[in-house]
Amino acid sequence: MSTDAAKSLGGRPAWPAMSYLVLVGIGCIDAAYLAWGHLSGARLVCLTGSGCDIVAASRYAYLFGVPVAYFGLLLYLAMGLAAWWLSRQPTLATPLAAAVAAGLLGLNVASALFSAYLTWVAATVIDATCNWCLFSAVIMWALLPILFVWIASQHYDTTDTEVSQ
């Protein structure tokens, strides 16, 4: 993937795309574990005692009756898919590529904001700490500057690409 990524970025640094995909992958595993906990009803392995189960059982862990962990997993999957597709585009010159990049940025900003809110709710309203949720929030926030650097370093027109190639 590294050769493809380097090529796809038209000579631009490949590390943001790669780091982004790796982090999203880790986030996916984290969210999948939380979602599995909801689905199976099993107790979560938790560094903070029963904090993970307490947070997962709280009414703030549900949105319209659906566990937030499911939404989290979906978000990570959508972000991973969009990032993978973007990493294979030579430029962001087409409206579709530019829109996907902007959409991914939007999704990441929204998710980071939402995970910050959930961390605040866990700490102040539920009064429990869930290390898996905290880890996911940290990943969401770490993804943001990486994505920004990545898409801000991309070419947004074909002329620019030809020059750099």
Binding site: D53, L63, A98, A102, V109, V121, I126, A152, Y156
Partner: protein
Amino acid sequence: VAEVKWRWLTAGIVAGLLLGTVMVTLSWRSGKTAGNVDLTDLPADGKILGYADAPVLVEVFSDYQCPWCARAALELDQEITREYVASGRARLQFRDFPFIGMESYWAAIAAGCAAEQNKYWPYHYKLFEEQQGENKSRYTEENLKKWAQELELDMAAFNRCYAEETSALSVRADYQAGLQRKVYSTPTYFVNGRQVVGMPQWRELQKIILEEYAKAR
């Protein structure tokens, strides 16, 4: 080109902020209103409110004349009902511990009579709402019957039950159970057997309920 790039980036960030705000608002509202339930929607088996398979049992030993018990019932118990009983995680059981005076006993008897008509919980909360302190001649026979009438209970059955003290056995059994479990103050909560004396902070009680839920699930 730079202008186009920044336009897309700005659009992404603004859309993200808007989407994030919507998600936060929806979650906050949903969390706040998730437990707005009607008592009549919940299954009740006499003095036990909630679904039979709920893994946590919250028992509260209480006296209708005790001011802290009224506060606990109208604040904590209703919060427990909204948050955990309605979602099937806990059951709430009221245990009579009438020790302040005869009015406490008669109020408990009357509540037991309401239970016979499956109206225990509305009547129980009515008693606490009407409380004015200890031994203030508030829980007189006249008042207890007036409130039963207001809640549209079958008055012939209620009067008979009250006169014959049909529910006395249950009240005495609760009181004895309280003594055996070393209840010395009201309200006293037991969450799956874990004793919490006095009126706890909501967060403290919530934490214990959730810990027990996590253990039992």
